[in-house]
Amino acid sequence: MSYPSIYPTGVTVYNPEKCWSGYTIFPARELGALLIDMNGAEVNLWKGLHGFPNKLLPGGYVLGHTGERSNAFGMQDQIDLVQVDWDGNVVWKFNQHEYIEDPGQEPQWMARQHHDYQRAGNPVGYYVPDMEPQVDKGNTLILCHRNVKNPKIADKVLLDDVIIEVTWNGEIVWEWNCNEHFDEYGFSEEAKNILFRDPNMRSAGGGMGDWMHINSMSVLGPNKWYDAGDERFHPDNIIWDARESNIIAIIEKKTGKIVWKVGPDYNASPELKKLGWIIGQHHAHMIPRGLPGEGNILVFDNGGWAGYGAPNPGSPTGAKNALRDYTRVLEFDPVTLEIVWQYTPIEAGFIMPVDASRFYSPFISAAQRLPNGNTLITEGSGGRLIEVTQEHELVWEYISPYWGEKMKLNMVYRAYRVPYEWAPQAERSQEVAIKPVDVTTFRMPGASNSRKKETVVDGVWPFQGDGALCVAADEELDK
């Protein structure tokens, strides 16, 4: 994949007529929580506020973290989860999950939060009609880390995922530990074998196995499946996905048991085969009631490298043995597993597979269903946020101009679109259309756009299409 060294950042495409316009909140790399309007104007920057992710709440509140634990000892552990107001005052804080004494550091309580959290009132943390997250009360579900030993999984220290429910007063009232449900995940013997030997060891803290790496967690909320009597989809149940194992699962809130899942083996049934391998995925959630596609699962299927299983040429040990160099955003029916809507390199207009990696984020990323049926996609690794219609038309695009100094990426973990009304302190922005530039004629200042001579060569044949590339492409692939 070739990227240009020079390209515009900020908003590059905006069609106000087709967009669900509002503000967009995202964690700008090594800068803070940034709220922008549809033209990319920066409405408010909560400077230095970490975001794993940042979420805006009604009233101009933003959720984030005041810091991250030293990478020498922790893997992505945020020290707390805080709610700050429009002016940056902390109005709510939770950190009393684990008391941490790292060498050379001040002992302190830490949340060890990572990847996700959900405030009561709203199941998914983004705008849903009549489901506003609470801002001055209510419990918060928080995805956290805890180091455990479980010889059934591996003989090494495991970085386990824990979901806790915390009251407004900071009391933990519910807890779910991922490792305690190992037998329910359906790992094959091959997968268990490599998982035992290499549970995705990371160097932090002298070595710990980030064996599942859950990166998304939300509540199902009211839905048609439960209304029709399917208890697996009880509104209180929680859906999560784990990038290292390629599993998307729903746990029953009451018992903690897995009641629905796809993965880790997508060859396990004809329906799963048709759905295709979901690899290293992020932000799997049920589209909440009140939004187009309600009840379906929306997921950013990154591709990349993930999973445990049989060794193959791309994975000599069986670790990260599922590979794909492009991304799919999938909306699928959780009962039939039929894909209802998707945005893949094909819908993005790229030739499959030779140009497929132009829609590709091998890590982080997200997808949000908007009230008009559009989807806001965070193609995170390249810091690209796009809004596409049901018909796959690109109607908004923003490239983050914020590259980190400590990590030279302009990555965006996850972005959310919120209605203007959720930030009443801000003056309502103007919406100015930005037409896509014709890149075939766009030149940098000083670069030529002229042709000095055109020569006719007699007897030349017309050019062919893509049917005889070095590799099979498009329709030829399906034959």
Binding site: Y99, E171, I172, V173, W174, E180
Partner: protein, 280 residues
């Protein structure tokens, strides 16, 4: 008196007991339940089921009988062979495996025989066993002797509640200063843990006794009690769930079990930051 010792092939503990009997000239008949003694043990077990504990991992061996008494496990067996019933209370059946021996309770035996009790521990340690001692805090001087001689590798102390209602929970008068001494001592062992079961407390005796569970506030006081005894907020501290069906007090068998211990952990962490909940 003739002894029968039921053993299992390859059981190290059984070998240690046999060596003890041989050394002390105690005659016995061995029956290996995995070999020729299988049927006999089955028959014996069926007839004495109520005296033989069958845990999660099966029956712990050896099992000793003299025709009148039955003792199970290495500690209880050697104690009985050493001093008859005098050491009852100090030992019970354990749950640990391999080199680890548990079911040792310095707090609950007859203090007159403390020296005999210690002698059994010395023998076990002398045979390369690792000992886990469990105490509710009484008989701190015995625990101190265990510490001085290095007889325990791990100590678990059940701090039953805050000092103010310790006696009420135990159901008999308790010398709180004795408990305090044990709390301070426990933290000096190579490995240790404090724990509290959130039990129902009979607040008021009578025909209609007033019973209620320890409150999160009382657990916080218990954690404080440990902090004061050890001078540290960073002790391993486990909070356990009371199981009414397993209670020895009939009045508590019908009490509703608690649905959540989380408020207790939150309360305890103010004074013991490493507090965790027992997995059930």
């Amino acid at each position: 008196m003739s002894y029968v010792l039921f053993t299992a092939t390859g059981c190290t503990r059984c070998k240690i007991v046999k060596a003890f009997m041989a050394k002390n000239g105690i005659a016995f008949e061995e029956k290996d339940m995995k070999a020729e003694g299988k049927d006999e043990f089955k028959k014996f077990y069926s007839a004495n089921r109520c005296f033989i504990t069958r845990g999660q991992d099966g029956v712990e061996f050896p099992v000793l009988t003299d025709g009148e008494e039955i003792r199970q496990g290495i500690g209880a067996t050697i104690a009985y062979l050493s001093a008859g019933k005098k050491l009852d209370g100090f030992f019970c059946v354990g749950t640990l495996h391999k080199e680890w021996v548990d079911g040792i309770h310095p707090c609950s035996g007859n203090l007159e025989y403390a020296e005999e009790f210690l002698e059994v521990l010395r023998y076990l340690k002398g045979n390369a066993m690792k000992l886990q001692v469990e105490t509710s805090g009484r008989n701190s001087h015995v625990l101190n002797q265990i510490f001085v001689e290095g007889l325990a590798d791990r100590v678990i102390m059940n701090v039953v509640g805050p000092a103010t209602i310790y006696s009420k929970i135990v159901g008999k008068p308790v010398d709180v200063s004795d408990i305090q001494k044990s709390i301070a001592l426990v933290a000096q062992f190579p490995s240790y843990q404090y724990q509290t079961t959130v039990v129902p407390v009979i607040r008021q005796e009578g025909d209609m006794p007033e019973i209620s569970y320890l409150t999160p506030g009382e657990i916080a006081e218990t954690a404080k009690f440990i902090e004061e005894g050890t001078g540290s907020k960073k002790n391993p501290y486990l909070i356990r769930l009371f199981k009414p069906a397993e209670s020895k007090d009939e009045r508590l068998k019908s009490i509703e079990p608690l649905t959540s211990l989380f408020p207790y952990r939150t309360a305890a962490r103010a004074c013991q930051v490493l507090t965790e909940l027992e997995k059930v």
